[in-house]
Subunit: 397 residues, 2 copies
């Protein structure tokens, strides 16, 4: 094995259009959110595996012998990654003390790491290493933080196992893998997601892997070749909500008013398709103000539709009103009923306007980040290209 | 001719659902608005016709000989009321000094009166009389104030001419005409509307005549037999707007996003049909909270759709927010872009809640009335049954 010390990152995910409608067979557009999760993997010589997840206060280490004892049997081939190894999952659940059905974030993150680590290395000698993760993403906010973590785990551990190369050349700041390697990263990240979520759609890990934008329709995920990078504000209202309850609410409303609601789902579908078309035009034509006007109108229309579907919330109304007062357009993203919203920034939006909007939103008690959507998926970083505050955290352990 | 002194009234109109969509071939529901226009007609012996319209500062009188001189030719038969008598309109326009195309409210009201008066009496001796009108409706707010005026004029002058009887019996507070007489009132009121508006849809005078609710689809107006009386707040944001501009804006948006907007019109259509069904159920079944829940949901959904159609306004958002804070549901009514909104009150809504909501809306700079929709159309009143403040105005002249 080569001397290992590398940093990878993967983006979060936002739904640009089509949340909820996708449950009813309509198109959704998922985009990468450039709030990233960073992972540093370092070979060590202490005969231990250490995992440091300071965001969620998880600091664990195990002797290699202890881990080796978990796999007294022959593991399946590494390439067969369509299904979880149920026996391994069961043993790991017992090992970390995660009772069946427990969804504790720390337990799930530990399980996902151990599962991928043991699956990739269990047939050979287990390597001594330390993995440290720092995420800019809030957890449990529907922004794909678990997928970004799983993607980073898969990329780093696949490199460590030699299954894929590290793409970074010495003159690069960042580098990405080839399609084939990304496929492998994505399929292992999906295993992590299965462990964490039970029955994930696969959208979040696909966005974390490929970045950009994905079209999601009836369970099929199609990465879109070219999309522009869009500046946004990402706001977390911090209103807790249950995706399950919200999905049920939409279903109830459709059942109560089928003739009223069915056309609304059709309209949301058309919004996703129109948006996809406009974003594609923006990569082939000079970008004009009219492109942005259209994106803004689609955001406004969809936000009204989401309210009609019954997944609005007064805090989201406040987000829309506060940003509208600055000439900006917002919609909820994800499940709604609170949670997060995105606000489109135009290229010409003045940084003073951005800063004062962020301040106004924080004054409402919201968390707010200036970031972008449509950026790159998983990548390897030269240490120098990583933001100082992130590097400081990764180097601490 | 009998000794004449009687009071009639007609309601205003609100669109409950389907404004704008109706322009694109969808159903609209027009309802009577119980802010009424009152007209007192009194026979006099002074050989003059006097018209007093204190709402718009019009106080006119003419000698009968002067008016007789306007019709030196044989008029058509009274029953032929499908088209305006173009020659008479031309002469009257010259007489009142209304240049072609002038839409001055006072001129139009005067023209409508003189046209109906001379058409009904011109072939015989002109009666000496005084007509005084007082309206609770704001003018030019899309609430059918001109139609309520035309309906009152038609009813009172048709009675004065003996074409229809006065329905009030001595023991009645109020009384209505039979269907046949209402047909005649409506057709003469439509003539008044043609003079005032040029090319009216006929909905406003139909609502003023029949009251209750009308279904309006592709130019066809169908009065609905039974509807419940619903308590509402009627709020005038006083934001001026042009119906023409708003209709054009909706059309532009449909042209820009046909696949997105066409389903929204279908959904609005379904809202009107669902609402009609619920209101009909409310007259046949015991009224339940669930009926009101459904009416509220339909109001909220349509208000979002109207925003999607591009006819919202921040003042209307404020109306919705202020009433929502009291647990009440509002939508714009009519053209939007400002103008008026309606807020549904439930039977159990406490009068304290109503009063404080009205106050909050007035604090926003809006006019606000507690009234009802679905009430009776044109009716004759015993003087004792007319509100004191209205009677006081009608008796002043």
């Amino acid at each position: 094995m080569q001397a290992m010390d590398y940093i990878v990152s993967a983006p979060g995910k936002a739904i640009l259009h089509g949340e909820h409608a996708v449950v009813h067979g309509k198109v959704a557009l998922a985009v990468s959110l450039n709030l990233r999760t960073y992972l540093r993997l370092k070979a060590t010589t202490i005969g231990k595996v250490c995992v440091n997840l300071p965001n969620i206060d998880i600091f664990l280490s195990w002797d290699l012998a202890e881990l080796k004892g978990l796999i007294p049997y022959a593991l399946g081939k590494k390439e067969e990654v369509k299904h979880l190894d149920a026996e391994l999952v069961k043993r790991l659940r017992e090992f970390v003390g995660a009772t069946n059905g427990s969804l504790d974030t720390g337990n799930m993150a530990t399980l996902a790491f151990l599962y991928i680590y043991l699956s990739l290395f269990g047939s050979d000698e287990l390597p001594s290493l330390t993995v440290s993760v720092w995420s800019e993403l809030p957890t449990g906010a529907g922004l794909g933080s678990s997928a970004a973590y799983s993607v980073c785990l898969a990329a780093a551990l696949l490199c460590a196992s030699g299954a894929i190369p590290t793409p970074l050349k010495e003159w690069d700041h960042t580098a990405r893998w080839c399609q084939e390697d990304l496929e492998m990263i994505n399929s292992w990240a999906f295993q992590g997601e299965m462990i964490i979520h039970g029955n994930p759609s696969g959208v979040d890990n696909a966005v974390g892997t490929w970045g950009g934008m994905l079209r999601f329709l009836a369970g099929k995920i199609i990465p879109l070749s070219r999309v522009p990078l869009l500046r946004i504000l990402l706001t977390n209202t911090k209103i807790p909500r249950s995706t399950k309850v919200l999905v049920a609410r939409v279903k109830d409303r459709i059942n109560k008013f089928p003739s009223v609601m069915t056309p609304v789902l059709d309209s949301v579908d058309a919004i996703s398709c129109t948006c996809e078309k406009v974003l594609s035009e923006m990569t082939f034509e000079p970008i004009t103000g009219e492109h942005y006007n259209t994106l803004e109108e689609l955001i406004d229309i969809n936000q009204h539709h989401l309210n009609v579907l019954g997944v609005g919330h007064p805090a989201l109304d406040t987000l829309c009103r506060v940003t509208s007062a600055k000439g900006l357009h917002s919609k909820l993203t994800g499940a709604g009923g609170g949670g997060c919203g995105i606000t489109l920034l135009r290229p010409e939006t003045d940084s003073f306007v951005v800063q004062s909007t962020v301040q106004d939103l924080r004054d409402c008690g919201f968390d707010c980040w200036e970031t972008s959507i449509g950026g790159p998926g998983v990548q390897q970083h030269a240490a120098l290209s990583v933001k100082e505050e992130v590097l400081e955290v990764l180097n601490r352990y």
